[in-house]
């Protein structure tokens, strides 16, 4: 601390100013790259070995099963080429490609506020395969099940409702990532990734932010939970 009568030389003052500027810039860079630019993993879809021009994408949706910074938040997981699950909603797919998606739904469902969310659109053939059955619309009012979440890419007009697990089952998944021995439903479908490089925003439209007003908070807008991007790349 400078005291009365003590003055610093010009060089010392210049040094302090330069160090202060460097510290400020360091702090700013840390804020940007250490926090604001931090994001979940990006998983690249796996090239299909059986079909040309097709990639496979395997995902699961977990309930509030105690993982990550927000253990009470529902979230998507994506499997990489090595079979490892990543809690993320950031997916990379090639341009001009059929994306074949399989979603394992481990969360329970319910009736919908908006019946439009039960309709399928934007997928190949206009139908999804739900537990082995082709459907163009999923019944949101089936007793015990209903719809848990939706998979929607507005930019590609893709909407897929995800049928929920029956609430009375005994073997609910308790911690993510869940495995196939636990209660789940399976939905598979395919869509075309488009002819241009683009970053498509996607998200679940069923309000599933448990504990938030009308369910529209927390995980709903968070990357790695119920909102993400489809990066369509060359």
């Amino acid at each position: 601390m400078p005291r009365r009568g003590v003055s610093l030389s010009k060089g010392a003052r210049a040094g302090i100013v330069l160090i202060s500027f460097a510290a400020a810039i360091g702090l700013i860079l840390f804020g940007i790259f250490g926090y604001l630019r931090s994001s979940p993993d990006v998983v690249t879809a796996t090239q299909s070995t059986s079909q040309p021009n097709t990639v496979n994408l395997v995902m699961q949706v977990d309930g509030a099963v105690g993982v990550g910074a927000h253990p009470n938040w529902v979230g998507y997981w994506v499997q990489d080429a090595n079979g490892v699950w990543h809690q993320t909603t950031l997916v990379k797919v090639p341009v001009n490609t059929n994306v074949h998606v399989t979603v394992y739904e481990y969360d329970s469902g319910g009736a919908l506020r908006n019946p439009e969310w039960a309709k399928v659109s934007g997928v190949s053939g206009g139908q999804v395969n739900l537990n082995g059955t082709e459907d163009a619309i999923v019944n949101p009012n089936s007793p015990g099940n209903g719809i848990a979440h939706t998979f929607v890419i507005p930019g590609l007009n893709v909407t897929v409702p995800l049928y929920g697990v029956n609430g009375s089952v005994k073997n609910f998944c308790q911690t993510g990532p869940c495995n196939l021995s636990e209660a789940h439903t399976t939905t598979s479908f395919a869509f075309f990734s488009g002819s241009s490089v683009h970053s498509y925003h996607w998200q679940c439209f069923v309000p599933c932010g448990l504990g938030y007003l009308e369910g529209n908070g927390g995980p709903m807008q968070s990357l790695g939970n119920m909102a993400g991007f489809f990066e369509v790349v060359k």
């Binding site: 601390m1 400078p2 005291r3 100013v17 500027f21 604001l36 970053s199 925003h201 007003l213 991007f229």
Partner: protein, 646 residues
């Protein structure tokens, strides 16, 4: 004069005591404040978890707003305790008479990190505080423009983008309310009115120390998921948000208390502490700007605080006053917020006009044109600002019959604003202007405000408002009025008053580089936003139509140049202040203002004796004008400028 400020009564003694009454004791400063504040936060958070940890809402969402809010409350109390701000009131409350003699004043840089009752130190604390807040919010603006370089490639996620937008808007709109009153009002008003002190130095000092607490808490929202509601905090978005919203409401509340403290002090000082002869008709324009703003703050800010309190209750105690689904009304918040929010726009604009009308006659070398009209303009804007807030709600479902009324009142406000504008033009008319850096910024204020003001008349009209509501057109309008007017005024004031504050004169050459780059880049950034708005680009979206990409890229590149220009200012300002220190002659602008007559450094207690005011401060070019005041020169380089230097 209502109060005898002679030395014998002791009332007018220059205030410089620290520690709020503790003569001897621990050396309290900002660092002890942060330490005790952190402990207070932990205590409050623990208490909140103990109280509300079992709420169903908390269990469900995993967030405990009660704990966060109590943490903020006790953290702030701890911060104030650690700074020594509460010593004086606590001693009074417990029956201990605080010492009345002045403790030794801290020397060197350390005095700027302490609670001090010296209005000049508080002014400088405010100056650097405000610059830090402004540059932080400016960096966030750069983050916004980086994202908007492309409609398809993303630098930030959508939620992060909205966090950044909310932080930028809130920090600018909330912290910059004090950007003139804090650094310039506190330092200059006592000097301008011939007072040895401010009326309530403890309130003045506390008003500043609210701001770093608010800044840290607001910034902490970024680490807590932010608040996607933006600076307006509309319900129900603000109710369903994560704990970042608590940081928004609490920091805004702290700033509200800061504004009230500051405004109370400013009002009482100007009304009661004017020197003999300082009639209302001789009051400098900056002081007029301060008192009109202070009254506006006193009447509007409490309404905001009530609204924030309601929001805090909804979020923590699970009341439902702002949520229609449970019997409340989001209109309640909208009205409470905008009853503060629109006068707030003038809290930002009026001080800017105070600065430019203060500086303009000095460089025009002629009296301020139509002084009384100028004062009428300020009072008119302040009064009318309370009758226009519903124009923000034209599209909210309000009673349509009310729209014409609020359209009319909003259009009416262009009349007193026009007074202020025309006063500026009249002062410049046939003057022999000197184009020093402060004057360049003043002229830029009038240029920029022309765009902001005229588009303001358009957006107040219901048909146009309905068309451009929520678009970049509105954003361009308010950036022209606030950044184009207020921040250019602040820059003018910084260049103008640096000799009085620090005894240095900033380089004209560097200043002109700063001015021209900032002026061109500012207009290049915000003028195209009018076009973007009319082409249909909505605010607060991080993806936009592909056809708007080129305009957005132009705006982003211009914004980066604007950011570089401001960074250039920051670097050269600090460098000249701390390293090269180019010395300034006393009163380098040959101002008649009383504040310039005391010399540098401004003496302790401002004046040896209370001056007697003999004439107004703007009698330039009048060979028969009296000196502005009769005063005893006490500064080492005091300068007495008599009227009529030409």
């Amino acid at each position: 004069m209502a109060i005898d400020m002679s030395q014998t009564t002791g009332v007018g003694r220059g205030g410089s005591s620290e520690g709020g009454g503790l003569k001897k004791g621990p050396k309290l400063n900002a660092f002890t404040g942060v330490l005790v504040g952190a402990l207070g936060y932990l205590f409050g958070h623990w208490m909140g978890n103990a109280i509300a940890g079992g709420y169903q809402q908390v269990v469900g969402s995993g967030q405990n707003d009660t704990a966060i809010l109590l943490g903020f409350i006790f953290g702030t109390i701890g911060f104030f305790l650690g700074l020594g701000i509460l010593n004086y009131p606590l001693q009074k409350m417990t029956g201990i008479e605080p010492p009345t003699d002045e403790p030794e004043q801290a020397q060197g840089m350390m005095k700027y990190f302490r609670y001090t009752l010296d209005n000049k130190v508080v002014g400088i604390q405010y100056l650097f505080g405000m610059l830090v807040y402004f540059f932080t919010a400016g960096l966030l603006a750069m983050a916004i423009r980086t994202q908007l370089l492309s409609p398809t490639n993303h630098i930030w996620g959508p939620a992060t983008y909205l966090e950044v937008v909310g932080e930028h808007g809130t920090m600018m709109m909330m912290m910059m309310t004090s950007v003139v009153m804090g650094p310039f009002g506190n330092f200059l008003v006592p000097l301008m009115i011939g007072s040895k002190r401010v009326a309530f130095p403890r309130l003045e000092a506390a008003a500043f120390w609210f701001t770093p607490a608010a800044y840290i808490i607001l910034l902490s929202a970024l680490w807590q998921g932010g608040f996607q509601s933006g600076w307006t905090g509309y319900a129900p978005l603000s109710i369903q948000q994560g704990v970042g919203q608590d940081a928004y409401l609490f920091s805004f509340g702290l700033l509200g208390f800061s504004m009230i403290c500051s405004a109370l002090n400013m009002t009482a000082t100007i009304i009661n502490y004017r020197a003999p002869g300082m009639r209302w008709s001789r009051l400098p324009m900056l002081a007029w700007g301060m008192i009109t703003v202070a009254f506006t703050m006193l009447l509007s800010v409490p309404v905001l605080i009530v609204g924030l309190y309601v929001m805090a209750l909804d979020r923590s105690a699970q009341t439902s006053m702002l949520y229609a689904g449970h019997g409340g009304s989001s209109f309640l918040w909208e009205n409470l917020f905008w009853f503060f929010g629109h006068p707030e726009v003038y809290l930002l604009a009026l001080p800017g006009f105070g600065v430019v009308t203060e500086i303009l006659p000095v460089f025009a070398r002629k009296p301020l044109f139509a002084y009384k009209t100028s004062v009428a303009g300020m009072i008119g804007v302040a009064v009318l600002s309370f009758f226009v807030w519903q124009h923000h709600l034209f599209q909210s479902g309000m009673n349509p019959d009310m729209r014409p009324l609020f359209m009319l009142t909003t259009e009416l406000i262009s009349i007193p604003t026009g007074f202020l504008y025309l006063v500026g033009m009249g002062t410049m008319w046939r003057s022999r202007m000197r184009f020093d850096v402060p004057m360049l910024f003043v002229m830029a204020v009038f240029f920029n405000f022309l765009f902001g003001g005229i588009t303001g008349v358009y957006v107040s009209d219901v048909p146009i408002n309905v068309t451009v509501h929520g678009s970049y057109f509105v954003m361009a309008h308010f950036h022209y009025t606030i950044m184009g007017q207020l921040m250019f005024s602040v820059m003018a004031a910084i260049y103008y008053y640096t000799p009085l504050y620090f005894g240095i004169k900033l380089s004209e050459k560097l200043g002109k580089i700063h001015f021209w780059t900032m002026f061109i880049a500012f207009n290049s950034t915000f003028l195209p936003l009018f076009a973007l708005g009319l082409l249909g680009m909505p605010r607060r979206v991080f993806e936009y139509a592909q056809r708007l990409q080129h305009l957005n890229q132009w705006v982003s590149v211009s914004a980066f140049i604007l950011g570089l220009s401001l960074a250039f200012f920051a670097v050269t300002f600090v460098w000249q202040l701390a390293v090269s220190k180019p010395k300034s002659p006393p009163n380098p602008w040959e101002s008649r203002g009383l504040e310039w007559q005391v010399g540098y450094p401004v003496p302790h207690g401002n004046f040896a004796k209370i001056p007697v005011i003999l004439a107004g401060p703007y009698e330039y070019g009048d060979p028969n004008a009296l000196p502005v005041a009769e005063l005893s020169a006490v500064g080492a380089h005091s300068a007495s400028v008599s009227g009529g230097d030409e």
